[in-house]
């Protein structure tokens, strides 16, 4: 029973991690809280759903929706954040403009797909189950976990060992110094938005598959949980976000099983509040992205 719950927590945590990485990456690089991240998460799921509906194989739909989410992130930066960057607008104003962008994306999604919940066609999903020593897991869940872990692995490699990763970490550490050393700031920020939004979009598609449900509300449901995760892990820390996500996934499934489902989310936000008050840098703090 306990192992089964932990397995469920693992699947949930993997998707949370993909979502939270995007959040925290943008905070680490730009010091802004991007409240449109959840809207991109939702839109990517809808786009994948429509592509599958149009007859594309799931893999191709997934890939195309990721690219779409990435470019949407770049567009978001160009429209809602870049003009504010040029006038040094502080933290409140970009927060508001990201809300504006989120409202627009939400409105477009409502206009195109309507207010109802959508499902993937059953032929697109595998329903087979695998039994491993008393634990039952869906093949789809395993696939989702594998995709999430692979994406995290690739991101970790990119951040650690490529020129782009070094540029991202340099801009996160000190934008002015990075510019002096010849890093193309705007290009690095654009690529950061592409990566962060593609990961957020991937999370949206995977969670849509996991629950076989895509709806306008799916973004607002994960938005504040993602916030709790990146506070737990430490704002701006990618590794922290991954650890925080798996902790939250486990805590959620365990508290449903052993405590009560009604106060499940209160635990997450209670922990978030305590961490902010007692240790605002979280488990790993902001330095982690710079040193990744």
């Amino acid at each position: 029973m306990l192992i089964q719950q932990l397995a469920n927590g693992l699947f949930l945590g993997a998707v949370y991690a993909l979502f939270a990485i995007g959040y925290t990456l943008i905070f680490g690089v730009l010091d802004i809280l991007n409240l449109a991240h959840a809207a991109i998460f939702m839109l990517a799921a809808f786009v994948a759903l429509s592509l599958v509906g149009a007859g594309l194989p799931l893999v191709l739909a997934f890939a195309l929706a990721l690219v779409f989410a990435g470019f949407l992130g770049v567009l978001l930066d160009r429209v809602a954040f870049a003009p504010l960057r040029r006038r040094n607008a502080g933290t409140l104003v970009p927060l508001i403009s990201s809300i504006g962008a989120a409202i627009i994306m939400q409105g477009v999604a409502r206009g195109i797909w309507g207010p109802d919940e959508h499902r993937f066609p059953s032929s697109a999903l595998s329903t087979s189950e695998i039994h491993l020593g008393g634990v039952t897991v869906g093949a789809l869940d395993l696939l989702i976990l594998a995709i999430a872990l692979a994406m995290m692995g690739v991101l970790s490699y990119v951040l650690r060992s490529t020129p782009l990763g070094r540029a991202i970490r340099a801009v996160a550490a000190d934008r002015v110094a990075a510019a002096i050393l010849g890093v193309d700031i705007e290009r690095t920020i654009a690529l950061t938005f592409f990566i962060a939004s593609a990961l957020g979009g991937a999370a949206g598609i995977l969670i849509g598959l996991q629950y076989n449900s895509v709806s306008l509300e799916m973004g607002s449901r994960i938005e504040l949980k993602g916030l709790a995760i990146i506070i737990l892990g430490g704002m701006g820390s990618v590794t922290g976000a991954v650890i925080g996500a798996f902790i939250l996934g486990a805590v959620e499934t365990l508290s449903i099983a052993y405590i009560s489902s009604s106060y499940r989310d209160a635990i997450a936000f209670g922990v978030m509040f305590l961490i902010l008050v007692l240790r605002p840098t979280g488990l790993l703090g902001k330095r982690a992205l710079r040193a990744a």
Binding site: D31, I32, A80, G100, F269, G270
Partner: protein, 274 residues
């Protein structure tokens, strides 16, 4: 005129309540604190005033004042742990507090849970709402011109300098949080008493975003701006009904446009011209 007022009385009430909410947030923002707990304060007062009215027979005046008092007490307790937080961290901590408040409202038996609490007397008339708005607006106007109001602005502009001239910055932040909670509480009580029923979802993060948007569109720290912002963002969705499902897009586009092209909000445009 009278026909117009009676046809749109629901909308007019909404404008008044939203103006109170935007004003309540502007009080914290005047001190430079991005404390986003207004929706939670609103909800606490809404539930206290509704349960009091239905179970204990409080009249509107008693219900509104006791609801606002409850919100103020919660704000005073909340102010202690979050006193040291600034900027985005303060925003997130208060958002977290708002979610906890909402989850408690869902699970506490007396509130009627997620289904909502109904049977609230519908006695908050347009006159009550606008009388409250007038009192709060005048009080804020006078406060802004007082020495205390100057201390609040100084805290926003430069905390260290404010401390240097002897301003108790911690007290200013706590005071503005509590004052904002009282105004949000009055708005919450009036909201509950102009609807037959309330649900915890009425006071969640979506509401908080809406309040923040109205406040910033008007011009972060100006009372007139907050009221204008509330007017615009409440009436606009009604004016663009013809857009049907795409209605939200216009609100988002206006918000984004004002942020990008009029950094000090509508009130700022006005000041530049005069």
């Amino acid at each position: 005129m009278i026909e117009f007022l009676s046809q749109h009385s629901k909308l007019i009430d909404q404008v008044g309540i939203n103006a109170l909410l935007a004003l309540s947030l502007s009080i914290s923002l005047r001190a430079g604190s991005l404390a986003l707990a207004q929706a939670a304060f609103m909800g606490i007062a809404a539930y206290v005033s509704s349960v009091g009215a239905v179970r204990l027979g409080w009249n509107l005046m008693a219900a509104a004042l006791l609801g606002a008092l409850a919100a103020a007490l919660v704000a005073a307790v909340l102010a202690l742990p979050i006193g040291k937080l600034r900027g985005v961290f303060l925003a997130i901590a208060t958002i977290g507090f708002g979610e906890i408040a909402r989850i408690v409202e869902i699970n506490w038996p007396i509130t009627g849970g997620a289904e909502g609490f109904s049977g609230i007397p519908n006695d908050a008339s347009t006159i009550w709402i606008y009388a409250t708005l007038t009192v709060v607006g005048v009080a804020l106007y006078l406060f802004g011109r007082s020495k205390l109001g100057l201390a609040v602005s100084a805290t926003r502009e430069d905390e260290n300098a404010a401390r240097g001239v002897g301003i108790d910055v911690a007290a200013v932040r706590m005071g503005t949080l509590i004052a904002g909670a009282i105004v949000a509480g009055l708005a919450g009580a009036l909201y509950a008493h102009s609807n037959f029923f309330i649900t915890p979802g009425d006071f969640g993060f979506g509401r908080m975003e809406q309040i923040l948007v109205m406040c910033v569109i008007g011009g972060v720290t100006s009372s007139a701006g907050a009221i204008l912002g509330a007017l615009l963002m409440t009436v606009l969705p009604e004016l663009v009904r013809f857009l049907h499902d795409y209605r939200e897009v216009s609100s988002g586009a206006i918000l984004l446009g004002i942020i990008l092209f009029a950094p000090s909000g509508i009130a700022g445009l006005w000041q530049r011209r005069t």
